[in-house]
Symmetry: C2
């Protein structure tokens, strides 16, 4: 009864239960391997009686087709990967990412695809990809100038890149970072703010034009200032990791260095929450003495005190769209030669962390400039 005959006493105390293979079922049922396979996958090719009998035997023996073997002959894994250049620990700690993954997962799950997380293996994304059994990947957080980017492109795996321009022949999803940032800055300018601090997300790439999320958002802030006949000095831009702790410490450091902005524009909600915490610690009242604007509109913004004014981007929907795009690309591998790019909208959500600067401060600032 238990396991494969002839192997039972191989090792005493060892798990006697070997995995039941298709050949075992075939032998037990007195048919060929093909018949067993047909019984499950193409019952029409067998007489009803035989099919039922085979299924019965298989059931009794506890047979389950080996998923890896099935993958190999099927030529596909029915699994997609989420590729991130960061370590997984950092990935899951990031609520933005969790929300994005939520979107991806809801689609893959519905279509019966597995979801595998891919992060650098021994520091190499290319190696990690080589080991990953996926039909395609959604790449997020991948900087345009990532050193292994070429290797990835050459890998030939169907890919949807998120928050970065499409590679030739691949697909991409972007949001209107610049427009959202412009709206945020305009909002503050309209309230009368002139002296602001910008908390950029970690790799604050300014140099090479459009490159990167940070660059696009900064361009948006700048555009609003220029439209108002003002300019945003480079000294007003500070880097901060997109975490609560990162935002708090960057803000505190700027403050202790003597900066006295009337408003802070953050490129992430997490950092904005950190600024909020820092302001509370300093006894600076929000929004009376300090206005704060975030970016992303994560669920947590509605539960900060005060609720955070922020630039909304459809993060979850971005994940869904990425997954759908990828599955679509898998269905018709040829695709057109033109690269498909989807740009989602952003919009400012005015809540209660922003207000007009207090009178004297406003005055002071105007004089200072």
């Amino acid at each position: 009864m238990p396991g494969v005959p002839g192997q039972e006493e191989l090792v005493v105390g060892e798990a006697t239960e070997q995995r039941v293979r298709i050949a075992d079922v075939a032998r037990e049922a007195g048919v060929s391997k093909a018949a067993v396979s047909f019984a499950f996958n193409q019952p029409d090719r067998l007489s009803a009686g035989t099919a039922a009998r085979i299924r019965d035997v298989a059931d009794r023996m506890g047979y389950r087709p080996h998923p890896v073997a099935r993958m190999l002959s099927a030529g596909q894994t029915s699994t997609i990967g989420i590729l991130s250049p960061q370590a997984l620990g950092a990935v899951f700690a990031n609520p933005f990412f969790a929300l994005f993954a939520e979107g991806v997962a809801s689609v893959t799950e519905e279509r019966g695809f597995g979801l595998l997380f891919i992060s650098p293996f021994h520091g190499s994304l290319a190696t990690a990809l080589d080991r990953a059994t996926v039909d395609g990947v959604v790449a997020i957080g991948l900087d345009e100038r990532h050193p292994e980017l070429d290797a990835l492109r050459r890998g030939g795996l169907p890919t949807v890149v998120v928050d970065a321009p499409a590679w030739p022949g691949h697909r991409a999803i972007l949001v209107d970072d610049e427009g959202g940032a412009r709206e945020a800055a305009s909002h503050l300018l309209g309230l009368g703010h002139r002296e602001v601090l910008v908390l950029a997300v970690q790799p604050a790439i300014d140099e090479s034009g459009d490159q990167g999320v940070s660059g696009r958002r900064l361009a948006g802030y700048r555009a609003a200032f220029e439209a108002a006949g003002l300019s945003l000095p480079g000294s007003a831009v500070v880097d901060a990791p997109a975490t609560i702790e990162g935002g708090e410490s960057a803000f505190l450091q700027a403050w202790t260095s003597g900066a006295r902005p009337s408003a802070v524009m953050c490129m992430s909600d997490a950092a904005a929450a950190g600024v909020l915490a820092g302001a509370r610690r300093l006894g600076v009242r929000v929004p009376e003495e300090l206005s704060i604007v975030g970016f992303d509109d994560l669920p947590l913004t509605r539960f900060t005190d005060p609720p955070l004014t922020t630039v909304h981007q459809p993060v979850r929907r971005k994940g869904e769209a990425a997954a759908r795009m990828l599955l679509e690309a898998l269905r018709r591998p040829s695709g057109d030669d033109q690269d498909h790019t989807l740009v989602l909208e952003t919009r400012l959500m005015v809540r209660r962390s922003t207000a007009a600067p207090s009178g004297d401060r406003c005055q002071e600032v105007v004089v200072a400039r």
Copy 2:
């Protein structure tokens, strides 16, 4: 140069680039498939020159061993699964889960294992497991009475269960839910609270003794009350999803139904944050008019206003321990027959969401009882 000869013109406009197989490399290099395999995996079995030449050819052709094929012959996938009975959307939305996954991921990543998320397929966990190419699974959130539990056990996949008793022959990780809950309740009782509201996590299983997280925590609350010569009426226990929204609405509903607890004990921090939000909306001051205790001690508790008093459990470490246990079980499949169970500690973190009830209220309550 490009792809497999004889297939180039199969479909015009189709991707001409076929995947390079080991046989292609072998042919190109004028050696056998085995030699190519050796060149990568056991270079010692080849002369240095040959090995180098083969690697060179392979490199030039862009050869990458097919991971699925490798899995099949290796007999292992080097991937582990995180199994959850909930839909993935709900999973990632839960910060508790993200933290747990962070722990699991940090270990698997370090050991070079992939991480696959497994959730019900068409409603069936067993089916999802059958399709999952993993060497073992970490099961979390699995209720002892889950209908498919037997199927999972019978599946024969090495498993570590989290927050549930060990199955015979499997391993388990628990935390001292009851002790933590008892501490929380004692803390409130010591402050003078008598009229409390309990927000249980969704499946509030009370009936069958020890079963489930909810049951164990409730038992802890109860034990503290009994130790004080009091009792916790069933009417004081309400179900709430472990989300901010869930906590808020459950609290508001209880309040509008006339309940006037001086303290709320929540079985999750998310729910506690929701209660906090609800109290703010009602204009009830925390902790002066209402004390709140959470459970889990997620990072967010330090950034609520006021910071949340809560029962700490080492969630991240729980994930790490689960992963390590599983990898250990994979290394020595036989194991002892005794089931290994690891119980981690919990402890109360007193922050600022709890205080003695205001005098009159306290009076009123005492009279009321």
